[in-house]
């Protein structure tokens, strides 16, 4: 699914934001930038959690700016509170198929298959509290699978995981993207995440997309000064 943001304006406290961005079908784009720059707001506008003041969001050329979140072809994985603590793992995934959890036999099978696909075979009856942090992220991804929405938004989804687990999850996301042709937008604080699975990276700064390009180039020699400051590479590139 192709995503286009055109002059999408939003205001939070004193920060005036205006986003222009386009992401191609099946692409993985990383969003980097300092805290408070508007990365999560950008995802919120795409998912429909936030209402833009003006401008438009288009999916495959169709204007969806006024469409409510549940009707958008979008799945989101947040950093925390992705799962309901009182529902079993299978029910948490099943919510992706029916928001009232009325599932038929085929759908139960689908839930089980999705759990198997993310490496949680047989853990459907557990409660989230009985899983590790990495396993909880996998449950959230299993729900993404059963929902079959073409656009996946990751809002610092794996920020709380250690490096090895984070890489494992990123690889899983990358595999799912290839399998299903998902378009992925990923907010992260780690340039390594972008280098690992995102072909392109956008740098968000003070409510604007300041720079977009091939990840290696954007994070390397082509970085604009604010991005260098963010990456902490100012001195190295200034002398070089």
């Amino acid at each position: 699914m192709r995503v286009e943001l055109e002059a999408l304006r939003f205001r939070y406290a004193a920060l005036e934001m205006c986003f222009d961005l386009s992401v191609a079908t099946g692409e993985c784009l990383a969003l980097l930038g300092p805290s408070g720059a508007g990365k999560s707001t950008l995802l919120g506008l795409i998912a429909g959690f936030e209402r833009a003041l003006s401008g438009c969001v288009r999916f495959d050329g169709v204007d969806v700016t006024q469409v409510p979140p549940a009707l958008r072809p979008v799945s989101t994985v947040f950093q925390e509170h992705n799962l309901f603590p009182h529902l079993s793992v299978a029910d948490n995934v099943g919510l992706g198929l029916h928001p009232g959890l009325r599932l038929d036999r085929a759908q139960h099978a689908e839930v089980a298959a999705a759990l198997a696909r993310v490496g949680l075979d047989g853990l459907g009856a557990r409660l989230p509290a009985q899983l590790s942090g990495g396993q909880r992220s996998r449950v959230a991804l299993a729900r993404v699978l059963v929902r079959r929405r073409p656009l996946l938004l990751l809002d610092e989804a794996f920020a709380a995981l250690g490096p090895a687990l984070r890489n494992e999850m990123l690889d899983l996301v990358d595999a799912l993207r290839r399998d299903r042709g998902l378009t992925v937008l990923m907010v992260s604080h780690h340039p390594d995440d972008a280098l690992r699975i995102a072909a392109r990276t956008a740098f968000v700064h003070a409510g604007h997309v300041l720079q977009v390009g091939a990840t290696a180039a954007v994070l390397g020699a082509a970085a604009c000064p604010p991005l260098r400051a963010y990456l902490g590479t100012v001195e190295g590139t200034a002398t070089g």
Partner: protein, 527 residues
């Protein structure tokens, strides 16, 4: 307007309408009402109200400090959990029951008097009057203050204790540098709360005050209305009490920082000031004395209930009163929950989804109307508002649940408010993205996550309504004699056997209501 806003507005109307009507009736009651405010008798009563509350607060909080400190220093000893549970009991226990227990221990024929007689010092009598009032207030508020102060120690990180040990701080330095600064922040709030409770307490003053000489505003209102039939005087007293409560509420709002009840887990860090025999002995004495002070009246109640002659169980009045109390408790509790929940849902909607935090705060503030206007003031106002139009004692069965609901409403808001808001803050986006809305959201998300606090709120509101004496005494007639009123009448007639049975039954009812609702509705393992 959405359903939630409509429900919230309706609930606000149910709360504010009687409050407003009562206030107007009080203001309009008799030409002499406002003039009577300057009367010396009223000034004396107001002075006594404030004076006894100040003394009670000083004693309760002052004695709670060393007890709380001892409990904080001894984070693990056998019976600590039981002791803290005992300290939680006065919160649920109706005041009039405590009065019975205190009379059993300190009364003319009580345990202490008999012990004194055996030791050759006969004539120890129960200190009615100011001393009795102070005894009752300290009994209720010392455990409360301990439970409020104890969590302050939890805020001390383990590193601080390690550092204190490394630097070799003695008890004095630990107190001055670590404990006192923490407590000083919490003390004004705790003291103010205790002060408010002592200003508005009714049953203790009525039963232990022992006459008009030791009457607070709250009791004087009741006497003016029920015995002297002086509505204008009652209205003046009620207005004075209302002004006092509003002033205190304003003070409390400025003091900020809501207080959390705690007392459960304290991590046991080795404290440099807790070692040594002297410290251990002092802490032991503090804890044992507090345990005895709170535990003895409870034990006395149990002992008295056990020796009640069996034929008293056949008293039909007793069972009628018990049934009435149960019905009143459930009705008032459910009404408080319904009102509170409606207000909270409207407030949450306004704050988180519509960006109107001020309107949201106004909805939550409605519930505090019940706290600022004590039931007796509200009751007096309602009495005067309705008396010209209907027979108040005929409509009393409908008024009592309403008054009880208003009594419980602030607690419902306190218990249910934060979790209710947290559910929305955590899961609104997830629910929106999954399309979980309406009934499905209520069934799958709200109820499982909120059933615990809902059950707690309902349990507390029911127990409070079951034990309330104020409103029932004001509107009480033979047709509406609940257990607390029956117990008060029996105490007044010195029928101690019958009183013991009523007290035990009332306590059993309150505990059964409280724990039953919490268990059954709250679910065992729901998080």
């Amino acid at each position: 307007m959405s359903l939630r806003l409509a429900a919230g507005t309706g609930a606000a109307a149910v709360v504010l309408l009687p409050c407003g009507g009562a206030l107007l009736a009080l203001l309009g009651a008799g030409d002499g009402a406002l003039g009577a405010l300057a009367e010396p008798r009223l000034l004396r009563i107001a002075g006594f109200t404030l004076g006894q509350a100040a003394l009670s607060t000083l004693l309760a909080v002052g004695l709670a400090l060393p007890v709380a400190r001892a409990l904080a220093r001894r984070a693990a000893f056998p019976g600590r959990a039981a002791l803290l549970a005992l300290f939680g009991l006065p919160l649920v226990m109706p005041t009039i029951i405590a009065v019975f227990g205190l009379i059993e221990v300190y009364g003319r024929a009580g345990w202490v008097a008999r012990l004194a007689a055996a030791a050759g010092r006969p004539g120890f009598g129960f200190p009615y009057g100011l001393a009795g009032i102070l005894l009752g207030h300290v009994f209720f508020n010392l455990p409360l203050a301990v439970r409020l102060l104890l969590p302050q120690w939890q805020a001390v990180p383990g590193e601080v204790w390690r550092l204190a040990a490394q630097l070799g701080m003695g008890p004095g330095a630990v107190w001055r540098l670590i404990e006192w600064p923490l407590l000083a922040r919490a003390l004004p709030g705790v003291a103010l709360l205790v002060f408010v409770l002592c200003c508005t307490s009714f049953a203790v003053v009525l039963a232990l005050g022992g006459g008009p000489a030791a009457a607070t505003l709250e009791v004087a209102i009741y006497q003016a209305l029920r015995f002297d039939f002086e509505p204008a005087r009652a209205a003046a007293l009620a207005l004075a009490q209302l002004a006092l409560c509003l002033g205190l509420a304003a003070l409390a709002a400025r003091a900020g920082r809501p207080l959390a009840l705690g007392g459960g887990e304290l991590r046991a860090y080795p404290r440099p000031d807790a070692a040594g025999r002297l410290a251990a002995a002092l802490d032991g004495i503090c804890i044992a004395a507090a345990a005895l002070f709170v535990g003895l009246p409870v034990a006395a109640l149990a002992a008295a209930a056990l020796r009640v002659p069996a034929e008293l169980l056949a008293d039909a009045r007793l069972w009628r009163a018990a049934g009435l109390s149960l019905a009143l408790a459930l009705g008032a509790g459910l009404a408080a929950l319904l009102l509170g929940w409606s207000l909270l849902l409207a407030a949450r909607d306004l704050r988180l989804r519509r960006g109107r935090p001020r309107v949201a705060a106004a909805f939550e503030g409605v519930g505090l109307a019940g706290l600022a206007t004590p039931p007796l003031v509200l009751g007096t106002g309602l009495f005067m508002w309705l008396a010209p139009h209907v027979d108040v004692f005929v409509v009393a069965p409908a008024l009592l649940p309403l008054l009880g609901a208003l009594l419980g409403l602030p607690y419902v808001l306190r218990v249910l408010g934060p979790p209710c808001e947290r559910v929305a803050a955590h899961y609104d986006r997830l629910c929106a993205s999954l399309g979980v809305t309406g009934w499905q959201r209520a069934r799958l998300v709200e109820w499982p996550l909120l059933r615990r606090p809902v059950a707690q709120a309902l349990a507390l509101a029911c127990a409070l309504a079951a034990g309330d004496l104020g409103a029932v005494a004001l509107f009480g007639s033979p047709a509406t004699t609940t257990l607390p009123l029956l117990l008060y009448q029996q105490l007044g007639a010195y029928r101690m056997d019958a009183a013991a049975l009523s007290a035990a039954l009332l306590l059993a009812l309150c505990l059964a209501l409280y724990h039953g609702i919490e268990r059954v509705l709250g679910g065992g393992d729901a998080r």
